[in-house]
């Protein structure tokens, strides 16, 4: 049986470069076809709900914005030992804490964690509400895709390119956005009399 591979983009699409993980997931979904053992997901900011995506996964590839002091747009690769080096956060107040290491430790405890982990970290430039991606993050996203395809080759699974259209994220800033639900054909004279 082929090993199950999960590719997950992590981050909030509402907060500038924090949306780079979901953006990369969107690029992969729109642009590529993968083998059946590969799942691509926009995981948002899952907290401990990340656990649900770890179980049964043999190899995990995550894309997330990172804070590592490097210049914006830097792509850094982390493996399991880098992620677990510092352990879980000392005090857990709510389910939102960044819990990558904690989720991995719990999954491991339950005997169902992935053996192979690659975290593709992209150093963000800004995290402004509604700002969309900065130019450095956008360039880094393209580089992240290259890294992911290389990792898939290493994991011995195939992929093919579906589309060369640039990916367009639904959460783009207002100025660049078209209505997601389609043209506003529903705007009609007042019906309710209010």
């Amino acid at each position: 049986m082929k090993r199950k591979i999960t590719i997950g983009g992590i981050g909030s699409v509402l907060l500038g470069d924090d949306g780079v993980g979901p953006y990369v997931a969107g690029m992969l979904e729109a642009g590529y076809k993968f083998d059946e053992n590969v799942t691509v997901a926009d995981l948002g900011t899952p907290g401990l709900d990340l656990l649900a995506h770890l179980s049964g996964t043999d190899a995990l590839i995550l894309i997330d914005s990172v804070s590592n002091g490097a210049p914006p747009g830097t792509v850094t690769l982390y493996r399991k030992e880098d992620i677990l080096r510092h352990g879980p956060a000392p005090v857990r107040m709510d389910p939102h804490s960044p819990v990558l290491s904690e989720s991995l430790l719990i999954a491991e405890l339950a005997g169902e964690g992935p053996q192979d982990i690659l975290l593709i970290g992209i150093t963000g430039e800004q995290y402004e509400v509604g700002a969309g991606l900065s130019e450095p993050a956008r360039k880094a996203a393209a580089q992240a895709v290259v890294e992911i395809l290389a990792e898939l080759d290493r994991l011995d699974t195939s992929h093919s390119k579906l589309s060369t259209q640039p990916f367009s994220a639904w959460w783009k800033p207002m100025a660049e956005a078209l209505p997601v639900a389609g043209p506003a054909e529903t705007l009609a004279p007042a019906l309710t009399g209010r």
Binding site: L14, P46, P88, P98, L191
Partner: protein
């Protein structure tokens, strides 16, 4: 001499709950709850198409995704007076229930059980004795000696490795930890099993919503699920049967494990029925509409003031006129501009950041008030409001749970004990059991309605040129959620989300009244102030969730929580 303790998980940009308490003579004398990040995310919605709003609001919070999506479509539907087809109501209800079951299970086991369970006691347990003990309180088939032994071995292996891993930061051996090694082992075994069952609940969300964590099937006016019992790509009988099976398994876990564990832990820490009551004004909204026009609901809502169950006021609908009129948000102690409480439709979110000052402004959370009063929301509010109104399903499981606590603890557990830290945990388990029964019911309602030949899932929204306003409510896992929308000419003019944790984590208001977290901490005894386990027990009992999620992984390990004693 009083000591000041700050519990503040520090991260670079993520918003967090911070708790400050003043300790005098080993008890909390005063308390402040703060959120450390601006949550003005609503501003992103202004000018957008109301039909898209739910996709954005679903991203407010990575854990409460579906709840914000649901409240948003309901707000637009309320503004347009747009009915939702019965099928869509049932499909939405099933998603909401499955999400809540997942959330409640994770909250108890993964997020708060280790406040009560001492991992270091587990290696001392006798698995055979633990199994025998379990047999006396539950028919659960996975309490065998072998299953318990396997769980114990996991803990032993972690301990032997010298790296405590996931357990490295607990307050193990704390004098407030009092369970026997065998009960610790049972609870830990269920902690591991819970991972499986919470996942099954999420699978149901994924099957109906087409993806998790962000469902894709919502539309203003209904859902996008095609129903065709014989079509492989639609919602068909095979998928419905699979959903039924998954729900059955989750419901069995809740009734035979979760509810029993909460009762057992409660029975062994009975003093915690007297700690942590705080604000005893309660608010819940009706939810799980029973038909297209929502003529009835399976979860009751209403208001209880000052703990007076006999004086309960019930809400007839999910956007009850009294509820619509009574909510305001105060910013006296929050980092926002403004000099008077505002109704959410007039709500403003203009930041005014100053340094943390317990006398002045100290939180990014506003103070929602109901007729000017702080309100506690969450499963406890819902259970008490249902119980006070004689709601049959609420009474069934509340009485069952109180009976279990009485039997195990050899005490007389009455509903009055529920105004407490343990009451919040018990109410959450009671609510989970209620939701489990309702999951099966709403599955049946959906299947019966489809069998009648009704395949409608969507009513098309039509927007007037003028201005309309609406409120969408949902009784979410953490309590009453309301999204308030003003639509003008088919575009969003204003949008405010009043989230459960804003009610509960609110700072003081203009009259100086504490918010529910703050009030619940007053007089809490602390055995070791430098290890404020008791504070965490009470705060965790609310299931805090600061709804300002932004997760940036920091590989340098600077996500360090601080427990600072001044």
């Amino acid at each position: 001499m009083s000591k000041r303790i700050t519990i503040d998980p520090i991260t670079r940009i993520e918003g967090h709950l911070r708790i400050d308490v003043e300790v005098e003579n080993y008890a909390v004398g005063n308390a402040w709850a703060s959120c450390t990040m601006w949550r003005g995310i609503e501003t992103i919605l202004r000018g957008r198409d109301p039909r898209d709003a739910w996709m954005f609001t679903q991203r407010f919070c990575g854990v409460c995704t579906t709840v914000h999506a649901m409240a948003s479509v309901r707000a637009v539907e309320d503004a347009l007076k747009l009915p939702v087809p019965a099928n869509a109501q049932y499909i939405r209800n099933l998603i909401l229930i499955a999400h809540a079951l997942h959330d409640h299970i994770v909250h108890f086991y993964q997020l708060s059980a280790l406040d009560w369970v001492d991992i270091l006691q587990i290696p001392k347990a006798d698995p055979a004795a633990a199994s025998k003990l379990a047999e006396t309180i539950s028919p659960w088939t996975r309490n065998s000696r072998n299953e318990l032994k396997a769980a114990q071995d996991k803990v032993k292996a972690v301990a032997a490795s010298g790296q405590l891993g996931i357990f490295q930061n607990g307050y193990w051996g704390h004098p407030a930890m009092r369970l026997s090694p065998e009960v610790n082992l049972l609870a830990f075994t269920h902690y591991v099993q819970a991972l499986e069952y919470q996942r099954k609940a999420l699978q149901v969300v994924g099957m109906l919503g087409s993806k998790t964590p962000h469902i894709q099937n919502l539309l203003v006016g209904g859902v996008a699920n095609a129903i065709d019992l014989d079509n492989q790509s639609a919602l068909n009988m095979e998928k419905l049967e699979m959903i039924h099976t998954l729900l059955d398994e989750v419901v069995t876990f809740i009734n035979q494990v979760y509810l029993i564990d909460v009762c057992a832990v409660a029975a062994m820490y009975p003093e915690w029925f007297k700690i942590g009551s705080g604000v005893t004004n309660y608010l819940a909204v009706p939810d799980l509409p029973l038909d297209s026009e929502a003529h009835g609901y399976d979860l009751p809502g209403g208001v209880i003031m000052h703990g007076d169950l006999a004086g309960v006021h019930g809400f007839a609908t999910a956007s009850d006129p009294i509820f619509r009129q009574s909510v305001t948000e105060d910013v006296t102690h929050a980092y926002y501009q403004g000099d008077k409480p505002l109704h959410p439709w007039e709500g403003e979110t203009e930041p005014d950041f100053t340094q943390w000052d317990g006398e002045k402004k100290y939180s990014w959370v506003k103070s929602p008030r109901y007729n000017g009063q702080p309100m506690q929301v969450g499963p406890l509010a819902q259970v008490l409001i249902g119980y006070a109104q004689g709601h049959a399903l609420t009474k069934k499981y509340a009485d069952l749970a109180l009976g279990q606590v009485s039997a195990i603890g050899k005490i007389n557990a009455t509903p009055a004990l529920l105004h407490s830290t343990l009451g919040r945990h018990a109410a959450r388990a009671i609510r989970a059991a209620m939701l489990g029964e309702l999951a099966q019911k709403h599955w049946g309602l959906l299947v019966d309605n489809i069998a009648k030949g009704d395949l409608t899932v969507h009513n098309e929204p039509v927007f007037p040129y003028g201005e309309v306003e609406g409120v969408g409510t949902h009784e979410a896992p953490r309590g009453t959620l309301s999204h308030w929308i003003v639509i003008k000419g088919g575009k969003i003019k204003n949008y405010q989300a009043v989230v459960p944790s804003t009610w509960n984590a609110s700072p003081r208001d203009e009259s100086g009244a504490h918010g529910p977290y703050e009030a619940s901490l007053l007089r809490t005894p602390l055995a070791r102030p430098e290890e404020p386990l008791e504070v965490l027990r009470t705060v965790h009992s609310f299931d805090p969730c600061m709804a300002c999620a932004c997760h940036t992984f920091d590989p340098t390990g600077r996500q360090i929580a601080r427990v600072k004693v001044l």
